[in-house]
Symmetry: none
Subunit: 154 residues, 2 copies
Amino acid sequence: MKFIARNRSIILYGVSLAILLLTMKWLEWRIVVIDHAFELYAGVVAILFTLLGIWLANKLTRPKTNTVVIEKQVLVRTKDFVLNEVELARLSLSKRELEVLQSMADGLSNQQIAERLFLSLNTIKTHSSKVFEKLEVQRRTQAVEKARQLNIIP
Amino acid sequence: MKFIARNRSIILYGVSLAILLLTMKWLEWRIVVIDHAFELYAGVVAILFTLLGIWLANKLTRPKTNTVVIEKQVLVRTKDFVLNEVELARLSLSKRELEVLQSMADGLSNQQIAERLFLSLNTIKTHSSKVFEKLEVQRRTQAVEKARQLNIIP
DNA sequence: TTCTTCCTCATACTTTAGGATGATTTTAAT
DNA sequence: ATTAAAATCATCCTAAAGTATGAGGAAGAA
């Protein structure tokens, strides 16, 4: 019985008061009620004003609030691609070299890149070699992987 | 004075009671105190039990737990990768082929993949050829690009 | 068991990529 | 005008990648 557990003290108080009054009644029952109207009245007043106090407290005191703060982690994924201009500047890739790098990332062969940029195959080879040099890699796949990690290509 | 603001009603109640008693006193001061001991006693009892009621209420009301959820933003730089199992199943890539594809995405050469997977170079070539076939591409860079677009590798 | 798929490896060959080097031209800055 | 960096292209050579084909073994399903 949750009600009993919660209001144990109140109930005990009430019961005690009742017992007290009953005891008084039992002890002095033979004496005229009027003689003891005072005690009865006092008991009633006590009970009423106790209830009034409880009502007052509940009505007027601000509710006790135990603020429990729960931190909920919200994953916010970064925008799809933010160019890392710092790294791009640090690598000092020329415009052409970057174009070649982007084309490599698209999966194009050197020949296809040459056609796309209207250049000779040999020029593409030269550019790609420079790119590998600056990115400190050996193969185009590594170059693309590293460029992606550094956020210099989408 | 915050205290006054908070307990305004209680104070008013007390003051009213005091005024009432004082009025009674003033009106009937000339009558013997004993004749009116009853009213005084009742007033004292009322005040005491009102205070008792307030104390009881404050002691026994359980604090309301106010749960406040604070959303803490956590930046995740890696785009959340959700494996496209549908595409993966559609392509019917075998376990080995997928491993080779992932290694290619890491920028490894066939020789390095062979060493990583404890296989021969020729085996890697066979697997990669099958991968290109299933992905309908010609080069490893294209394979990685397409696999990324299909969300079958991070 | 038989059949299929996957995995493994090999050989032979072609294509592409990459390295090294040098030359010419353009562009931009001093 | 001079200088430096960037861009273009070439040749020669090696390494790596990719294609085609075959073949044997292992694992799982019918």
